[in-house]
Amino acid sequence: MIRTNGLTRRFGALTALDGLTLTVPTGELFALVGPDGAGKTTTMRLLAGILDPTAGEAFVAGKHTVREAAALKHEIAYMSQRFGLYPDLTVEENLKFYADLYGVTRREREQRLPELLSFSYLTPFRDRQAGRLSGGMKQKLGLACALIHTPRVLFLDEPTNGVDPVSRRDFWRILYRLLAEGTTIFVSTAYLDEAERCARVGLLHQGRLLACGTPDEVKRLLRGTLWGVRAAQPRAAAALLKRELAGRATVGLFGTTVHVVTALPDAPAAIGAVLAAAGEPFDAIEREEPTLEDVFVSVIGEQAA
């Protein structure tokens, strides 16, 4: 459904995207993750046919993103980080506006509107001005507007930024319903717990795809083992371990557990010795399954070093 070959985009001296080759099959939920400035938004805009590549090519829903950009628009929806809602129009008026924009017929529109309102949990707010909706509701309305023409491929650029946990859950329920209807979804996110639930994840860094696979496959990139340290004072323990194990381990706080990623042969003993020497009390040092966030921090950290 999405196929790219050596897709590259340069802005002057900056290579925002460098030779992306990727295939996303129909009906897949694919997540693109990476640090700020990695090229995620550029990728979205290239795939949506809004930006032309400097080199390489991409096909989306069978359409060439440059030669068939006009036809492509009917097959896809793209929800950018600043999706254009009209704050002085109501929820329903915004939906009608987008229906007209996409050339949706009046009959289709009458059928689609109640569906989308109910599906985005916005039926009770249909007469409210979009400018008076909460951030989470605005994102849901943005998605509903993007879906008015029943696209086959959906591009979502960090759709849940600044959205609270309740709205984030609603948003993901909507995505799964779309997925069940066969829509292909390409999403970028800064929330790695969201990436965990996608079929496949691509890790982008400085315009290059460092890794691509199922969350489990991507986790195998972790060089070393993850040890979870439960300490009485997690912040102090993390700072200590970071200092003492510099160059030999990646150390970070993860909730109240200190995560230590290291290839040291007898890691628990080494970690325990550092803590004991400084008189830092701890309960347990246990091997843990890494999360995508651990992999992200460790792999990007190595690249930066």
């Binding site: 600044g162 609270d164 946990p165 709205s167 921090v297």
Partner: protein, 350 residues
Amino acid sequence: MSAAERSPHIVAGGDAAAGAGDGGSALSGTGNAGAAAVRSPAVTVHELTRRFGDFTAVNRVTLAVATGEVFGFLGPNGAGKSTTIRMLCGLLTPTAGSGTVAGFDIRREAEKIKKHIGYMSQKFSLYEDLTVEENINFYSGIYRVPPAKKRERKEWVLAMAGLTALRGSITGTLPAGWKQRLALGCAVLHEPPVIFLDEPTSGVDPMARRAFWELIYELAGRGTTVFVTTHYMDEAEYCDRLALIYRGDMIALGTPAQLKRETADGIIAVTGDQPQLLLAAVEDLPGVREAALFGRGIHVVTADAAALLPAVQVRLAERGFAAAAAVVEPSLEDVFVMRIEAHDRNGAAA
């Protein structure tokens, strides 16, 4: 670090005995929650209320934040978080109730409060076309950092934000995470005893978020009180205490561990592939109050998790899922959602 760096929180200019007192006591603290509890409060709020016409944005909120505490202020979009922060910063007058920040009254001493706090919002107010150093100089002027201290404070901010080598770079060209650290540095140039951070990490990648939280700990460790809002529940875990605000009401207050304990004895976590199918398989079981996607699986909320667990396991087996189910402690995200739903249910019943 030098003694001068360690003692930044005594109020410059000496125009307020109350402020100096708070600053002084902060020096003895270590910045952890236990010590914070016995120290003087940096922020107190009593029955704080703000109405806009017939809409009550903040409804009788009462809380106290100890000096050196990292206090997380959570709630859905539009719950009243920013309105509360604006009142605490002296930018908006309360309709009713009272409060103090760094020892100053939020109604009568708003101008003094502005000198004794740092504020950083998700829209960092940096000048994109100025260099890093020029931005620091600009804020040094705005915050009236004494000329004798300007250089030292600038070097401190550059070092803290990891921007010493990039001091001459145009701010607009920096990655978001770096700008965010610079914005925090600018917000604390005048060594305020209390800082307010309104969704400071929104839209920043996980590496940058971690680096940012290390700076927050560093400031708290030096006695600065940090009042922070976030939608990232992993960040909420890093706070000493949390308040949850919803539709203007404060509906929960406590340490992360307390809130989890008080909200539920346990929930059921199911881990496996295709969480959306797992969700569909278990959400209609009798006794399930809520089932939601959580990372690589689902979380099931019920009155008695241990009692429901066998039924969930049987259902998963019947439907042919190779998924593991177990009773676990609720995450803060679960707590957040459960508290809000409980509040809605009570509201509907009333």
